[in-house]
Symmetry: D2
Subunit: 343 residues, 4 copies
């Protein structure tokens, strides 16, 4: 058996740990051969591939990123994409494919499996933790740890200068990183995409924190929006240095609004890419490794069209379609629970 | 309502986060008063208590240890212990008690509840993650992160000198820390209390690693034992500097055996107390905070004789008796899974 | 003797370590009393003060920020400022003042000493490491460690997506943080305020890195400027969401220029306030502690109008005037040395 | 020109950074060729060598250990050792040698240079920071950071259980790691090899700390000794599990003595090898990189028989003989300064 492996979408700590586990068990326990496709679906689309054996995966467990490269290429948006992929797989004598990626990457895998009979097994990946089919995805714990450490650091600056510090974290559609890092970091306000926020209410929490002689930290997911968000976005439009329209991020916008309405100095920190790079946390290495081990076993079992998922402490299999069916957002009652720490 | 809180057993990152969450929700949402008992069950036994309000829990979220102190005092081993406790609770007008601790602390809470009608709610705590009633306990993730970071560091020393490095981690009865940190750290051998090990087999893995031109890391739980462990323990007995019998730990013993049998240099690192101290990981702060929030709600709901537990991503309630019913050990199949990385 | 202590300017990891060392030695070895003035020079200006004894400094060594608060208040810009300060000192029976701060704070101390006879000892503080009178200032090492860790993390993202990552670090007038973290993080281009840069040359280094099949990290100090910087600033001016003129930071601007000129995707990370908050590195705790010990000894010795400074491994005294006399910038030959790693 | 490079003695974070800097500048600026000798002096002794070009040094900057391996082999203790080395150098057409190591490794380089005309340049390396010719050696700052972080963690355990925690750190002949990490970690007692300690005095500090309602941390260098140390060592001798004499380390011994004399519970943590492994701190990467750049320039300048050294913020050259002439120990007055924090 010859197995192809690819990683698609944004990079995420733990991708290499999956690849390593797949190859180690595949070679040692099942006697498989491996081929690594480069840059997500671009690899099987163009034939770009690298050999993938035990020497190639030595030492990659603690490394962030992916040794196979990644891209957001969608073969169904390329002319004749699906057929070119099946062509590459036939040429390279690839019997099955392990696709490691998020909604988009796995969506392609599902279609290739359902419509073209490609024997795919999926491994879910999203730093945002917003896939409904699995309790957690790897990369998320690392991102939360990094954001929490940043919030820890910002507390002392906020207190020393009695300033508001707004921290913008990742999370376009789901507020998991904001919620977990905000709770873990002792933030005084947490804003998530799942619930539009009221700026005056935010200012109320900020003010009440100052009254208690402490300085507030406001954690805001990049996808969080005020009640009147559409208006805001229009207002926030400005010309950048090339004359293009430029939107301030919500963090920057919110800091200005807080300054304006409360009269307190406010500063923004946008954590950005540091949240998704670097060595994975122990939890993510463990989860990614277990996902890898179970994915190659799924291949051995012929469980195609499925992906691995975490349920409690067990790794189980679910249909690929499930992965992309529904966004896993922060439940309202969990978010409400956090509000006891606001203000 | 007036609620007592105590922390018992070994310290564990996250205890303060539980206390804070209990008090914040209890005061703000339910209007309760709190009293903190000092040093586990010694507090209600002797009457040693401190006021516990919102000012007392400010800023303690990121701090390891416990602001209430801890001890291993068991009131059922003290003369008239249970009666002295009910006496203190009556005197202090305490309506309910939240006990945060492991098997022993919660076992006392269960008996006080069942036999003396003390209104107790439990919060499970064990750094070893060996309580069967909950998917995870807080403190465990922090310990695994610390052990993993140490293993990361030891790899480079092992490689530079082509030495065996044996790392002894916590885990007297269950190998969770060894298994998770060993897998996350890329150890070449992992030994757990759940399965007696064969020293020659260990030496085989060590030798095979050297043949591949790499140096091995052996992670061993403090409670792991060789096949002929009882004999070993007798042999290992030596007189310490005060003339008392002294047992070498298993790590030290194993390093010597590996040296003797393989002729390779071997060194031991015993991680010890650093695994249980210091600031909790983001996951542990999150879990401890949620446990605290749900524990005080259990009090409000009159769910006495119960404790909070994690199931998947939900916090649920289980009878206190369950917590201590069965040790959660590493399942054999999960341990076997890890062996693909041995050698 | 009764000694006043204040901290001025931007916060910086290590301020609390100085305060603690001053008070510990002052109380224990010399029998002094202490008073802490709040928020830099605002404290003696308005009389805002807090008691400062050994209990107040317990446990503050590892904490970032300053327990005394800080501000940029300059008494010489306030009506009757100097006289109000001498008034407060007389009222509070303060015999001498320890001022911990940067150029501005120490400049005020120097004038108060020279013109009003206030008995001041200074402790230099700048996260930017740009005071010429001392080899290093505390806070700098912490900032460099944080920036280096961020660069470590960004490498894997850059490689996975074959993108340029631009990291903007602190340093308005001196490039020390950029230089040290850039070198330590293995950056491929480092840009400092001391030397205007040529965007085409930067693009050359970027392109050469891609040719070697790696992705470049560009570290840029916030104060670095292109050759034609003045023009750029004008062009970069844009209206923010409130209709005010807004300047893109140099990092954001540079990323866009690199994209435009090389056709490669580029992203910016602005590290911002996380560089100056949180627990100090071991080096900074050591340096701050030694500065504190020597500052209070300078008071005992009557060495007023002076400040402590690091020379090699020794703490020495230099006139306060020296601290502010000349900015310590990165010497050209040291910057040139780093260029061997560019591209 | 063809340059040999070797690393000798115990491993140390920063060795790879030196190798990388040597090769980068050597190849790019001077057009040199390189050869890497394996395992310290064993390499040129036996001819074991690896090619060393820019591809070999890619990505090694943040990695601990040494890609060249290390050993404590002393050619002057091998039959015909020096002649075999000059033979290898001639065979391999090596024009000059860069030896990176501590007292022993550099001592060999000095003799080879002085007695056999081998063109050597040295780079000093000792994690203990005990070379008198340089202000700091790389690896030291990393070790101090690791030890400080461990002490930070142990504080919370000590406080929660009101126990004494004894931390044994590296430092056989000099107490630099103990002093710096002890001061940075807020230890309550610091014991160094430079001054024999009195156990009763230690117990006095311990007791006074408990009286203030805090729990003490005692940091002890592995080479620290009580006043009556020789007796102690004899008493501490015990038979290990193989019937060999075994000495308890000073940390373990001291914890028992403190328990016996004060009646307080005491525990020991021996940090061991984790202090010398893993990724270097930013300071160490910077220092190692600068040492590497200046070492290859010394080769170009024909400055043989010399080594690079740090003086203030400058890298200078000193005769190799100086490196080994005198141990740099902690000056008594610096140690005395630290005592204000004892107890």
């Amino acid at each position: 058996m010859r197995i192809g492996v690819l990683t698609g979408g944004g990079d995420c700590p733990g991708l290499n740990a999956v690849i390593r586990a797949v190859v180690r068990r595949g070679v040692q326990d099942y006697g498989y051969d491996f081929i690594g496709f480069r840059d997500g679906w671009r690899g099987p689309l163009t034939g770009a591939a690298v050999p993938l054996g035990i020497p190639a995966v030595r030492g990659i467990l603690p490394r962030g990123g992916t040794i196979l490269g990644s891209s957001r290429t969608n073969p169904f948006k390329e002319p004749d994409g699906a057929r070119r992929i099946t062509g590459t797989l036939a040429e390279q004598a690839v019997d099955a494919l392990i696709a490691i990626g998020g909604e988009d990457t796995l969506g392609v895998a599902a279609r290739l499996h359902d419509e073209y009979g490609v024997r795919c097994v999926g491994v879910p990946k999203t730093i945002d933790n917003d896939l409904s089919a699995t309790d957690y995805t790897f990369g998320f714990d690392t991102a939360v740890n990094i954001a929490t450490e940043a919030i820890d650091r910002l507390h002392t600056t906020a207190e020393s200068h009695m300033r508001v510090l707004v921290v913008e974290v990742m999370g376009r559609h789901a507020g998991w990183i904001a919620l977990h890092s905000g709770l873990a970091g002792g933030a005084n306000v947490i804003l998530v995409p799942e619930q539009r926020f009221d700026v005056d209410e935010v200012c109320g929490w900020v003010t009440s924190r100052f009254r208690a002689s402490y300085a507030p930290i406001v954690v805001v997911a990049e996808g969080a929006m005020p009640h009147d968000g559409d208006l805001v976005l229009k207002d926030a439009a400005a010309l950048d240095s090339f004359g293009h329209v430029r939107l301030s991020g919500v963090g920057e916008w919110l800091a200005k609004e807080i300054e304006r309405r409360t009269g307190k100095e406010a500063r923004t920190t946008v954590l950005g890419h540091v949240q998704r790079g670097g060595t994975p946390s122990a939890f993510d290495r463990w989860l990614a490794t277990r996902f890898g081990l179970h994915a190659i076993t799924a291949v051995r079992d012929g469980a195609f069209g499925q992906m691995v998922a975490l349920r409690g402490t067990d790794v189980v299999r679910v249909p690929l379609a499930e992965a992309t069916a529904r966004l896993k957002t922060v439940p309202l009652e969990v978010y409400e629970e956090a509000k006891v720490f606001f203000g």
